[in-house]
Assembly symmetry: C2
Homo-oligomer: 388 residues x 2
């Protein structure tokens, strides 16, 4: 019986994780739940799963006698075997570090954690024998393909659906509304990830995450646009053989694999591929020009230091501005680029330095908003978004 | 240093195996070579590799002082670690059994061995701790995908290029000449296997082989026509996740994997996939009606006993007739079907019973040739082939 802590239990991944756990009562037990502001749903979850510990943005009045702790205390608690980090943005950073230092098994769905602090997390995990299991569908695919392979990967190809605007004319990208961008053609995800998918920032963050998870140089990590989203990634080995992992796009599969690993559990809820319905799997190179966020992210990863932390922070701010109709779709990349241009990176940063870079970039990016303190010249790309 | 015996060293797979071995002089040593009638090439190979043992259809006068032995003696010899069975037809059967009983590692490229005597070989291998490593590209693909998986496969999909006549109108199949059938669109192979690929008999034999290698019921082994021959097979697991192995079609890759296993060796001779050149991978269900050999083979596998042995023998005879312009292309399936119809199968046969079924079916099939003793009524499908 594995004792599970779900951090971010009210988000999209957290809810799907609880679905998977609900189906395996003999194998998995929820001992802790942590959410941020959605206290109403957390209440329901606590009533159903009766965890020994819980966490939320504010201490609630009474909750089934469970202990109220911080996410970090939960992540490192001796009663927890496996921590699902399903938080968003930088919120997962410090709990993941706590779980790493406590030698936990960590099912990591929060990609900003490794993007911002990959070097720190991987070092602490290795020092304390913590295992980091990827939950992102692309990284889970790579990890599945690497099972039983002694010599690791020579190259990776992360696949990208291309998002809702892959075939869109470049001239019209600036007109995209938040409502359009939130309609992802394949995956049902949280709002931040959905917008990051539309700008391909998400794929760039995944490249950085893959770099840390699989110890590969950036030059060995490619991207293939694969609109069917059935091949979730491809691993090439030294001998020229490649393996791919395939499934219908359903996040419950990589979530369950991280929980069942190294076994695989039958699950009637998870759809099997129907090859009579798959005629063709297509692949094409990614168009970096049209989606500058991807280029910015990979560049920040290659430069290292605190650049990736600044990237994540600026992106979080910019996506928020876009969702609030403060800037247009192409303004997201603009804000990230201008923030990175002004960032002074620190090599081999400590966690404090990572968090300082994050705070600086948030502040700087916020100032780039139309009407913000750094918005001296009104740049075309930063005009308020079309209200749709 | 692994000591290798190559049985069938002058055939297509044998020659490619020697190419792979030549490139790894620090890891692999040829200690035995065995051929049948191509004594001229065997002579050259013996001069290059200086094996301690060799075998051929007839004892040659003098050969570098190496010991002249039977293939069975070589396969079970204490100085041999790994036996590559690259013979064709039933010739590999008794050496593979000898290697199984001696607990060797067996790189098996001769699919008739498991088709004819899968139950016997797998039992003896398991009893004596012999390891059977598949060299066929499809089975190597499955085996690669199964690495590190504790719970085995739930379903397999063997891919098929479809051969040179997949899109051919059914009405014209009977006009196909041996010269046309020997032009395989993707793989460069021996003559027997090339014709078996054109009739899809080869894919049927592979289904039976997969049944034995991976302990799966026939209902769990599917076939997908995949003309690009890049995905070599697909394994589906209990949780609905699938893995595929991909590479350019080149038999040296599965050969090398069997020799390097569980490692993978870099090999500049082996081409890596170039994703800028792969636009689309297509899959379609196989057309059983147009290619009755496939249906016959799977049916023989499902019925078990000595049916698969009779199938292989009848097919070998029929392919020979076709290559000698004795019958038309569609006559191959006809002869196999009529032989199976008359076969009296024995359940759980001994090796002697398998060989007796083989001998009976060869004789019976030969009698079905135009002008043969069993050719009482001249059937349309058995008319002599178009001389092209």
């Amino acid at each position: 019986m594995r004792r599970i802590a779900v951090l971010g239990s009210t988000g999209s991944i957290g809810r799907q994780a609880l679905e998977v756990i609900r189906a395996r009562p003999d194998d998995l037990q929820v001992v802790a739940l942590a959410a941020n502001r959605n206290v109403q749903l957390l209440d329901k979850q606590i009533n159903e799963f009766r965890p020994r510990m819980f966490s939320a943005a504010a201490r609630p009045e009474a909750r089934c006698g469970g202990e109220f702790l911080s996410p970090e205390e939960i992540a490192g608690h001796p009663d927890v075997d496996l921590v699902i980090v399903a938080t968003a943005g930088q919120a997962g950073l410090s709990p993941t570090l706590a779980a790493s230092k406590a030698g936990k098994t960590i099912a990591l769905a929060n990609k900003e954690v490794l993007v911002m602090a990959g070097e720190i997390i991987m070092r602490e995990a290795s020092l304390h024998g913590a295992q980091i299991l990827p939950v992102d569908s692309e990284h889970s695919a790579v990890w599945q393909c690497l099972q039983g392979e002694q010599d690791g990967a020579a190259r990776l190809f992360l696949t990208a659906s291309g998002g809702p605007f892959y075939g869109y004319p470049q001239s019209r990208l600036s007109e995209i509304t938040p409502e359009q961008a939130l309609e992802h053609p394949v995956w049902k995800m949280g709002r931040k990830v959905t917008i990051d998918s539309a700008t391909l920032m998400n794929k760039g963050l995944e490249v950085i995450e893959a770099h840390w998870l699989f110890s590969l140089p950036f030059a060995s990590i490619g991207i293939l646009v694969h609109p069917q989203s059935i091949v979730h990634s491809i691993v090439e080995f030294a001998d020229g053989s490649s393996k791919a992992q395939l499934s219908w796009p359903d996040m419950r599969l990589p979530i369950q694999y991280a929980l069942s690993y190294p076994r695989r559990w039958p699950n009637p809820e998870l759809p099997h591929l129907d090859w009579s319905k798959i005629e063709s799997l297509t692949f094409e190179p990614v168009d970096h020009d049209r989606f500058p966020c991807l280029r910015l992210a990979v560049g920040a990863g290659e430069r290292g230091g605190t650049y990736p932390a600044a990237l994540c922070a600026a992106d979080e701010v910019a996506v928020d501005m876009f969702l609030n109709h403060g800037i247009g779709f192409t303004g997201i990349g603009e804000i990230v680029e201008r923030t990175l241009d002004q960032h002074r990176s620190i090599d081999r940063p400590s966690l404090e330095q990572v968090l300082a870079a994050d705070a600086w970039a948030r502040d700087y990016a916020a100032g780039l908003a139309p009407g913000g303190c750094r918005q001296t010249e009104r740049r075309n790309d930063l005009k308020p978004g079309n209200k749709g």
